[in-house]
Amino acid sequence: MTRRTTTLLAVLAAGALAVTGCGSAEKTDSASSSSGDSKTLRIPYLADMSVPDPDVFYDIEGNGVILSQYEGLLKYKAGTLDIEPNLATEYEVSDDGKTYTFTLRDDVTFHSGPKMTCDSVKAAFQRRVDVDQAPAWMLADVKSMTCENATTFVIELKNKVTPFLHYMASSWGPKVVGPEAIETNAGDDFGQTFLETKGDGTGPYKLSSFKRGSAYTLTKNAEYWGTPANFEEVILSITPDMGTQRLKLEKGDLDVILHGFPASELESLPDSVTVEKQDSLLRLILYVNSNKAPFNDPAVRAGLQSTIDTNQLVEQGYSDTAEKSTGIYPPGLLPGEPKLPYTPDPAKAKAAADKAKTKKLTLAYSADESGVQRRVGELLQAQLKTAGYDVTIKEVQLPTVYGWAENLEEAPDLAIMTNTPDGAHPDLWASIMFSSTGGLNFLGAKNEKIDANLGKAISLPPEEADPLYKEIAQEVIDDNKFFLLGDVKNVFVMQDSLTGLSNTPAYPWLVDFAALKRGE
């Protein structure tokens, strides 16, 4: 904080003091005790997570609660996009690519006590299918699951799904849920009620309390099969305001802010706090509504290539916390993919815009805590204005976004979103984003060529699939219905005293709680 800033705040605060005129006669030092110890890790969430049930949960906020409690068969190796063993020590894929044989660890116990066996894994996978909520699609192609013995789990697929191993490693992939949920408290809803506030997994932490609106507490799993966690306890407290989060962090009452910290304010943080910027698969995207004027005209859409100045959007919108996207896929997913050709050219932009049937546009952005999408929206609005468009901005919430597909005529012309694929595979990105039926294809972009290529590529080995994915990329570029603007980084703001930061690009907004420690 600059000197002037501090003085200004001091004056204002003094005013506030004088205004309120009372304050507290009490004087105590216990207000901020017990911080900075090595037993408790304190992390804020900006909002409640939906439910700590891995077979229902399909958001980002809350993935720490899921991933430190539950484990999948595989996972992504820290700092990379590579898959490595987790509950399965090794795996084998049959030649036809339809049968996966996993060798399970034999030293894993659930938080509730029992040992993990193949049957428990099978039961957990079956639960995902039975619960049939949003993440169930990952097992939609499973034909059968069998246990050859206590440590050999075989999955047979109906058809070949190349990225299946990535499903197993995904943040939202199938997790091994313990018997407390599946048997003891199954009820008539496969234990969903039980898992609304409790848990039973195999991970380094167990859920010891879940108080919606206040805090979730994770306690160290002493029986953990892997490297035990350093902190005895992790408290995830709901602190919806970033200003409050920041003040608590500065005071040492919080350890890590996982996301949402405004990039422009990073510099004003005190020395006791460090900022870690790490790669992620999060991507800033501009959707174009090609179902109505003016962007149903390919020429007008193409003009956007010369209208959008991604450099400015990323630099000013994100400071140093995002990079300009260079390809359609998240970096590292498809080496050698076509380069994005966006280059600002006012003359071309204007020429294309002049062809537009209407120049009145609506630009929607989804609400986010740090306001970065709004910022990008406002910058984009200015850029479009230069080309001659008259843009109205509005903020939308996710359910509204889902409603667009039903009435594309009423949907906005442009939309700004930040999305992430479920895993580090081109298909996981392209099929959810660009396929006509993709879950994140909010503005109903249709392209038969892309659909056909995606259908083919999923069952092909990488060397044959990659050219198709590249073709898809080129098609997305040429079709101009999606503009990939930025590769957004994970920004972790944390106490200087913390070490052992470990994260992976495919798990957004997340650090490995178990690896963190205080000191050295």
């Binding site: 605060a13 003091l17 017990s34 409640d48 609106g213 408290i235 200003g243 996710l398 509204t400």
Partner: protein, 333 residues
């Protein structure tokens, strides 16, 4: 008095019914698609339709309305899209925190309003200066006031906690009232009581500032008016001290408008909890609404509106009765 209670109670029921109607109208004009949001992005169109039918969105409006009233009578407010819980259950979980906060803020507002009202009615330079400060203070948006209070009392002075209901070094008792202060007193844990009270101060203060001003202003106006009443002169002519005149004669008769204002201010406060609970991470209805807005979770929003509305109507019901107690003329009318 009994007849009065009866009549007011009738009015109370009518207002609650009106509230229910308004909430129903709100529910039916919502533009977004709750069914879709409920089943998720990857669900099929059939699943969405099935959900719609299940929620009864396909029925004709009058039928929806009767169903809505029936559900309401059974305390069923549907399920939240976000928490996937019964809204009623969610509200039960979040309501005590808001009740605790709003009640403290109300007490604080009335206390501050009373003190400042007396001060302002006294007139003089001090009163004028305080009035300007007070108006200035109440003119700052609550979110800024809140953050500045945290900055001063937490960051700099370190005497009060920044957020939440209680420090995380405490074990929070499970009931019976879920009001932390009350529960901790029942449970005999004075350190928890103290901690809970400390957590209450800043949010309650932020919430109380604007209502306190309104109450003070009303009180001072009616005190000035009552000062001109003959019975105050009569009281003085009896040789009573100024203090007795003020407290026994003027204040009680001047309290009517201030009481009404206090009741009305509860409405403002209930709106203010959304902002204040967010700033202070207070796990109450306001936070619930705030998060539900971000999720377009309409069952939750309307359910919470219904609850807060009912609370407000109830408060005013009691304010009404208090007023009748304070002013015997109302009682006999």
């Amino acid at each position: 008095m009994g007849a009065l209670v009866l009549r007011r109670f009738g009015a109370l029921l009518a207002v609650l019914f009106g509230l229910a109607c308004i909430v129903f109208v709100l529910q039916t004009v919502i533009p977004s698609d709750p069914a879709r949001a409920m089943v998720g992005a990857n669900a099929s169109q059939e699943a969405v339709e099935a959900k719609k039918a299940e929620l009864g969105y396909d029925d004709p409006l009058p039928q929806q309305f009767t169903q809505y009233l029936q559900r309401l009578a059974q305390g069923d407010l549907q399920s939240s899209l976000r928490t996937r819980n019964e809204v009623t259950a969610d509200l039960r979980e979040f309501a005590p925190a808001t009740f605790e906060l709003a009640f403290s803020a109300f007490v604080l507002a009335v206390a501050m309003g009373l003190g400042l009202g007396l001060l302002l009615a006294g007139g003089g330079r001090a009163g004028r200066i305080i009035r300007i400060f007070l108006i200035g203070g109440a003119s700052v948006p609550a979110f800024l006031t809140g953050l500045l209070l945290i900055l001063v009392f937490y960051s700099w002075l370190g005497i009060l906690p920044a957020s939440g209901r209680v420090g995380d070094n405490f074990i929070v008792p499970d009931g019976p009232t879920n009001l932390l202060v009350v529960d901790s007193i029942i449970g005999g844990t004075p350190d928890l009581t103290l901690d809970a009270l400390k957590h209450l101060i800043l949010p309650a203060l932020t919430l109380a500032l604007l209502p306190a001003l309104a109450i003070a202003r009303t009180l001072s106006t009616s005190l000035t008016q009552v000062e001109r009443e003959d019975y105050v002169r009569t009281a003085r002519s009896k040789g009573l001290t100024e203090r007795t005149v003020l407290l026994k004669h003027a204040l009680r008769n001047a309290s009517g408008p201030a009481l009404t204002m206090s009741g009305l201010q509860v409405g403002l406060m209930l709106g203010g909890v959304v902002v204040v609970e967010r700033i202070f991470a207070w796990p109450g209805i306001g936070l619930y609404i705030d998060q539900s807005i971000a999720y377009s979770d309409f069952p939750a929003i309307t359910g919470a509106t219904l609850l807060l509305g009912t609370a407000y109507v109830l408060v005013n019901f009691f304010v009404d009765l208090t007023q009748a107690w304070a002013d015997p003329r109302i009682r006999t009318v």
